[in-house]
Symmetry: C2
Subunit: 294 residues, 2 copies
């Protein structure tokens, strides 16, 4: 099966699991479940859950029910998008080609829907069937730290907000992106490895892959904001420059940023060599992440 | 030691633990750690952590380091206050006698500080020293469910928002408060019991105590909003009536509400009888909760 068909199949697997974990829109209070589902099922690519699942499969092959644990990453990612889009933060009206959560449901409901998705992520991990408590506790710890303020996603978001309008230097750029998107992508790989009971060296290799692929992902994300239209992206293009965000093209220029993304992809692939053919799908995902157009 | 001195000592124990778990304001990104600490250390009464600790001690006596796990409840409670105070929700300028978090740090930082406290609550539980993974996972599950949308805190907050201006009926009132404040207070007792490895009957009794004391707490809270001044409360008094909130005095009147609080206190005390003298501190806390003036 080619990687695009495979990815599509994996996305459906994740979507079905999300559909089971998030209460139906008919469960009271209906409005918040409807808002949570609106943002969750907006055509996201499920990159983090898929990276989680492939990391685990690289270690241990197919594992039944693996998509449940993978959902926790998409719940965190979606909450962060809802809150980032709020008027007080990035003030975005458009996300994945549709009105953002607060445009559709109002600000109060968007804040609470984000809170609820964040909370549900930990509930899912704690309630995983067929996973021992030791792994549950380690998964909760990984996800919480990666989502937190010290080197985690929220910390990166703060640096991003406070960086607006400041001189775009390599050091500031790194402090933003290693945390803002890097930490959760890295955690996707690490959590997959922990789920599959990887040994220390395997965990280290997948962590390293996660760091490189996380950086590549962010560089490409910044480049797309410069190079693509809003219609292609499904969100407002050119917003980074408009908000004077500290981005890779702003610091290194477009041409060098392309080179850097390629470099990170190459280094990510190097860390997979130890896994031989088991790392095949992760290799293809790395290519897809760097060469995507939206 | 009388109950007020004892409570003060317990509050200091919780504050010290919170101080260890929340990064210092000097840790980058400084601003968010400063905002988190501003709201955490604003003179809260630490009722939830204290209920947690006393539930555990009722089962198993003194346990070293118990205050660490108890912190998770205060982190959740504080995040919920920060988000509830936001302009899009209750739009409050004053909390515990000081400007609310968004008044002091701006809306963006208040949203992120709330997210960070919520996330940290689960990190604390996952990283508890000297607690086995089985209990960690159960504590995470209890806290997540009690904070969530289905019968949990966020669900209650949604019902509260959507109830504004609607006819104040007993059924609507119950749907709001059993979830909005009740679920986390109930969870405080249940988590303490789980932490102390209570048996099934002990857990059931403490759950029942938590339900009655949670209801008593909310009735008194609603009464204070009617009867006390903003200066005494440290927050804007009379806001419930002004926002047409569905409260106990609005549904049952002030006199009947006082009777109901007393009734709940009495029923809470009944559930403690099986614990004999071990339940002494919980009994005193129940009295204090019902007879408080702020």
């Amino acid at each position: 099966m080619n990687i695009r068909d495979y990815l599509h199949e994996q996305q459906k697997l994740v979507d079905a699991a999300l559909g089971r974990w998030v209460p139906p829109a008919s469960t009271p209070p209906e409005n918040i479940h409807s808002a949570m589902r609106y943002s969750l099922f907006a055509g996201g690519k499920r990159i983090r859950p898929v990276l989680f699942m492939e990391a685990a499969r690289t270690i241990r092959g197919e594992i039944a029910g693996i998509e449940d644990a993978a959902c926790s990453l998409e719940l965190i990612h979606t909450y962060s998008l809802i809150h980032d889009d709020l008027p007080a933060l990035d003030n975005d009206d458009l996300r994945r080609g549709r009105p953002t959560c607060h445009k559709q449901y109002g600000e109060a409901m968007a804040i609470l829907a984000g809170d609820a998705l964040l909370t549900l992520a930990f509930q899912v991990l704690a309630q995983l069937p067929d996973v021992d408590a030791l792994r549950k506790a380690r998964l909760v710890e990984e996800l919480a730290v990666a989502s937190g303020t010290v080197g985690g996603m929220i910390g990166g978001q703060v640096n991003d907000l406070e960086g607006e309008g400041r001189e775009p230097t390599p050091v500031l750029l790194e402090s933003i992106h290693r945390a803002k998107t890097g930490a959760l992508l890295r955690a996707s790989l690490r959590m997959g490895a922990i789920y599959a009971q990887a040994d220390r060296d395997q965990l280290a290799a997948l962590t390293c892959f996660g760091e490189h692929i996380g950086l590549a992902f962010q560089i490409v994300d910044d480049l797309l904001d410069v190079e693509e239209s809003s219609a292609t992206l499904g969100k407002t293009a050119g917003k980074d420059a408009q908000q004077h965000k500290v981005t890779f093209p702003a610091v290194y220029g477009v041409a060098r940023s392309h080179e850097m993304a390629e470099e990170q992809r190459r280094r990510a692939l190097e860390t997979l060599e130890r896994f031989g053919s088991s790392g095949g799908r992760l290799r293809e995902l790395a290519d897809l992440i760097v060469h995507r157009r939206a």
